[in-house]
Amino acid sequence: MILSYIILILIAGAVLAALTSRWQNRLSFYISILSQLGAFGLALGLLFSASHITFSQSIYDLNISWIPVIGANLHLSADGLSLLLIVFTLFLGLIGSWLSKNLPQPGFFHFQFLILLAGINGIFMAADLLLFFFFWEMMLVPMYFLMARYRDTSQSENTPFKFLFYTQVSGLIMLLGILTLFFIHGRQTSIYTFELSELINTTLPLPISLLIMLSFVLAFLVKLPVIPFQGWMPAAFSASPLAVILTGILVKTGAYGILRLAIPLFPEASVLFAPTAMALGVVTILYAGFIAYSSNDIRRIAAYSSISHTGFIIIGLYAFNLMSWQGVIYQMIASAISVGGLAILAESLYTRTQTYDITQMGGLWSKASVFSGFGLFISLALLGLPALANFVAEFLILAGTFQQSITVAVLASLGIVVAAAYSLRIVQKVYVGEYKGPEQISDFTLREKLIMGILAIVLVVLGMYSRPITQTTEKMLKQTLILDTEQPTYQLPDNAASVKLFSNPQID
């Protein structure tokens, strides 16, 4: 029951915010913050006991019969991974709301925003496939409206459509996959259900398993995004200022989907797919990095930087390794924060210089040193400087991947050099050199300092102390690994010592 409160509080907040905006515009902002804080507090509280609960069987589960005819239930559940992502989503949501304080039509904005957050959190809690799909679609509509309404007028009107099409088409294919799985399971066991824990036990012949897995994974790959489905992201970033925070939250649903659904439901097919996935990942890292280097629009750099980070995620996911999976979770968080930070800087730059083009900027350090300090910090985070969370993420992913495939790990490491190239290019063009820009330019306001400061502190703390994240997700990841290694069809490395460490974990 308690899990549903998280969603219900957000929806209640959404409705209230929409209604009250008729009388008092400001009020909707406060209602929104209040409901988000409520949900955040609730999730945070649950997080502390999170390391001990199992998905679909936790004491917090909510399981109501929804459509008995086809065996769909409203089954909400959570474990360490889900709660961690929920807490993180709400954290980013709070930051996003704070940033959007002065947008026009706050009632509309907060209504859509809170529904979006509710949808995303629902995805992390859904233990029933139809419910999962429901929430998946639920997060698309508000996103479209937010992008369309708060669109930067210099952008084409197609950009929200682009986003919608990519995600809708892939979502549709995923629905077909869900239904196929549903029917096959039903024919096998004569129980027709959408319950995840039941469907995991379906035995599927490999070709069918591969096809259905691909239909699922397609949706997630589009969400992440991975080459060649990355088209919507640069458009989304340029379309709207708050798109960045939103996408930071959205894309994690893709990685979550693979971890929670694709790999447990189709272990052999996943292993078969792994080389392709890793190849895609490497291509993504390098391809996106190259483009980021030549881009002059700072939002485009942010988008491709995010895509490059996602390449690491996909590599880590398909390494089937506790180390790389911890790295994946770390990367989800670190990437969202660092790219989000870059986007916030981009907006702050725009309000001061009226441009997003870094070739028109220069020498900001002489006029706004606090701003530039944070800018430098974010660039360092993007290139993976140790002591910051991004390094831990990439390091863990590479270390884990190295156990599986040396070639992939080595190629992915090249991405680190490319990241240094494009991150430092931002510093060179924007913060150093002779000053180019309007006469009077103001340094960071208190609000900006606080927001960036919070993000910076999170990056440093997570970069130096990993327990909060590794501890909460350890149990769930190990269990998924067991599920996977029961059918090891890949070559384990010959060295026995390392195999014991990373492929056959013991559960306490």
């Binding site: 030549s294 881009s295 140790p386 270390a399 190295f402 680190i416 050099v417 240094a420 913060y431 990993s466």
Partner: protein, 619 residues
């Protein structure tokens, strides 16, 4: 024993925080006091730790701060430790570092960003200490990248000139290539050992990797890749000459005394891995030997005084690598210490000259300074004597001499290495005294603007004393039996193994000594007797530009990268999808033409459709 050794790096980090956050509110004296004070306190604390340490150097001091990462049994913690190798580095970093900070108080006094400078310098010292005190390779990597960051920040310190930032970027990216090799090496170590703890790896190296296996060689070569990047050796040496864009104290501290020796530290620290692979050791030695010669020749053709010193540093570190490669571990470290003294001295003195001549760096525009700047001249001369390794009266002699000797005498040494090293010594004294004669003698082309004060000259004098007398703690065997230095290090580093039949040491020493003096003599002929002028020719250009490595890399790597990046800047894959979308839109528009609002048209189409239906039904 467990002592709070974390205080050592913590002090400079605190200094950094204070200066970064509150620097703008402090007066100049306060800033300098904080900056210098943090390092001085570290140095004093190191001395205090030393009293406990020196009584029994076989001991280690360890301290673990907290668990950094925990994945099953892979638990790299923030662990620090001090053994004799680390201790030597600590003393050099904090001692020489402290002197440089003191010097900077006057040198940077007129520059903008006084607090920022000291903040970055403190941050650097903090990271460097972390690097040498790291007890596992992940913490070492943290310090490694940290000093790279500070190097970037300080090279580009005068940020208004974009060329400085470009040099900083170049340095960072070139070292990053090395860092990536190091990272892959770490990944390999994790796979093989399941841990990155240095002691565990060293103890189990032979059993896990096997002697003389491809695996051992791979690990060692990857670590070497990292070392080569940070220490500016072949083939990644291209960033150091450009790094001279930073202020002179930066060049002294980072690009002479400490950061560039991090590679030397790494190889020495992981010697257990290198010993397993003779191929890797040979590679180290050959890289060292080639680098020292190539850099020395390049130094001979420079006209910027700082670039002479930069190439000189590359060359001297080549000597250290050569020593490491032939297994003369403590000889390499000894040279590191002496080099830190005289190179820092030379950079600081050069900085004093530059400041005195109002930022003139071209030697051919200097001259006749020995009368006007006596203290600087004498300290510079003492440093140069060490660099040229003049027999007995300079510390450099003792350190370089033992390296050259071991290049032949060690079991891994051979006559080729010895020859390269000896020729290098000749060229070293040649370019060194070329530098002196052009800068300090002859006619005065630029007038002295400003005489540096005590804050700048006292550190010079201290360093001069250190460099002269520092050598006496380790004398060659055929002269006396003073082996304080290598005895101190014997707990951490193995002794060098020597061949059984050897040519007489004395004669070879004499050869080297004669060549050093010959170098001075030749310089005297060419640059003192006749008025030096700068000539250019294609050959001279080639050596001036460091054997055109920059051009090579530009063509091989930079241009292709930028070309690919620019060509695909609008994301070809995205454009494919966009094109499809555009076509669909066009199709839609075409179809929409049938909705033209004309009623008659609608009616006609209805009728036609109806007729078609009827026809279908009848058939």
């Amino acid at each position: 024993m467990t002592q709070p050794i974390w205080i050592l790096p913590a002090l400079p980090f605190v200094g950094f925080l204070v200066l970064a956050l509150a620097g703008r509110y402090l007066p100049k004296k306060g800033i300098a006091a904080t900056g210098i004070g943090a390092i001085a306190l570290s140095f004093l604390y190191a001395l205090y730790l030393g009293t406990a340490f020196l009584s029994d150097p076989a001991h280690r001091m360890e301290f673990t701060l907290w668990e950094w990462i925990r994945i099953d049994s892979f638990v790299p913690s923030l662990s620090l430790s001090i053994d004799s190798l680390t201790y030597i580095f600590i003393l050099v970093i904090t001692g020489v570092g402290g002197l440089i900070h003191w010097y900077s108080a006057e040198y940077m006094a007129e520059e903008e960003g006084y607090a920022r400078f000291f903040a970055y310098m403190n941050l650097f010292v903090g990271f460097m200490l972390t690097l040498v005190m790291a007890s596992n390779l992940l913490v070492l990597y943290l310090g490694w990248e940290g000093v790279g960051l500070c190097s970037y920040l300080l090279i580009g310190f005068f940020y208004r000139d974009p060329a400085n930032n470009y040099a900083a970027r170049k340095a960072f990216i070139v070292t990053r290539i090395g860092d990536t090799a190091l990272l892959i090496g770490l990944l390999l170590l994790i796979r093989e050992f399941g841990t990155l703890d240095i002691q565990t790896i060293s103890n189990n190296a032979t059993s896990v990797l096997g002697a003389n296996t491809a695996l051992a060689t791979a690990v060692a070569l990857l670590l070497l890749g990292g070392a080569v990047g940070k220490s500016a050796q072949l083939p990644l040496q291209v960033w150091l000459p450009d790094a001279m864009a930073g202020p002179s104290p930066v060049s002294a501290l980072i690009h002479a005394a400490t950061m560039v020796t991090a590679g030397v530290y790494l190889v020495a620290r992981t010697h257990a891995l290198f010993i397993l692979s003779p191929l890797a050791m040979q590679t180290v030695a050959i890289i060292g030997a080639l680098t020292l010669l190539i850099a020395a020749i390049s130094a001979l053709f420079q006209y910027d005084i700082k670039r002479v010193l930069a190439y000189s540093t590359i060359s001297q570190i080549g000597y250290m690598f050569l020593a490491l490669g032939v297994g003369a571990w403590s000889a390499a470290i000894f040279h590191f210490v002496i080099h830190a003294f005289f190179k820092a001295l030379l950079f600081l003195a050069a900085g004093a000259v530059i400041l005195a001549l109002h930022h003139e760096q071209n030697m051919f525009k200097m001259g006749g300074l020995y009368k006007k700047l006596p203290t600087i001249f004498w300290t510079f001369l003492i440093g140069s004597l060490s660099l040229a390794a003049l027999p007995f009266i300079s510390g450099g002699f003792f350190s370089k001499d033992s390296i050259i000797w071991y290049a032949l005498a060690s079991t891994n040494g051979n006559i080729l290495l010895w020859t390269l090293a000896t020729v290098g010594a000749f060229i070293t004294s040649l370019y060194t005294f070329r530098m002196i004669f052009i800068t300090f003698f002859g006619t005065e082309k630029t007038h002295v603007h400003y005489i540096p004060g005590k804050t700048m000259t006292i550190p010079l004098i201290v360093l001069a004393i250190l460099t002269t007398f520092g050598g006496y703690i380790e004398l060659p065997h055929n002269i006396a039996h003073v082996q304080l230095f290598s005895e101190f290090l014997s707990a951490s580093l193995p002794a060098v193994s020597i061949k059984s039949t050897l040519p007489p040491e004395g004669i070879l020493q004499l050869v080297v000594a004669i060549l050093s003096l010959a170098g001075i003599g030749l310089a005297y002929q060419l640059y003192y007797k006749t008025e030096p002028t700068y000539k250019t020719s294609p050959v001279r250009q080639f050596f001036l530009q460091g054997w055109n490595f920059d051009k090579l890399y530009d063509t091989l790597f930079v241009r292709p990268f930028v070309w690919v990046s620019k060509t695909n800047a609008s994301d070809a894959i995205d454009e494919v999808f966009d094109y499809v979308g555009l076509q669909l839109k066009k199709l839609g528009n075409t179809l929409a033409m049938s909705i033209n609002g004309q009623i008659n048209w609608y009616l006609a189409s209805m009728v036609i459709g109806f007729i078609i239906l009827i026809v279908f039904m009848i058939w």
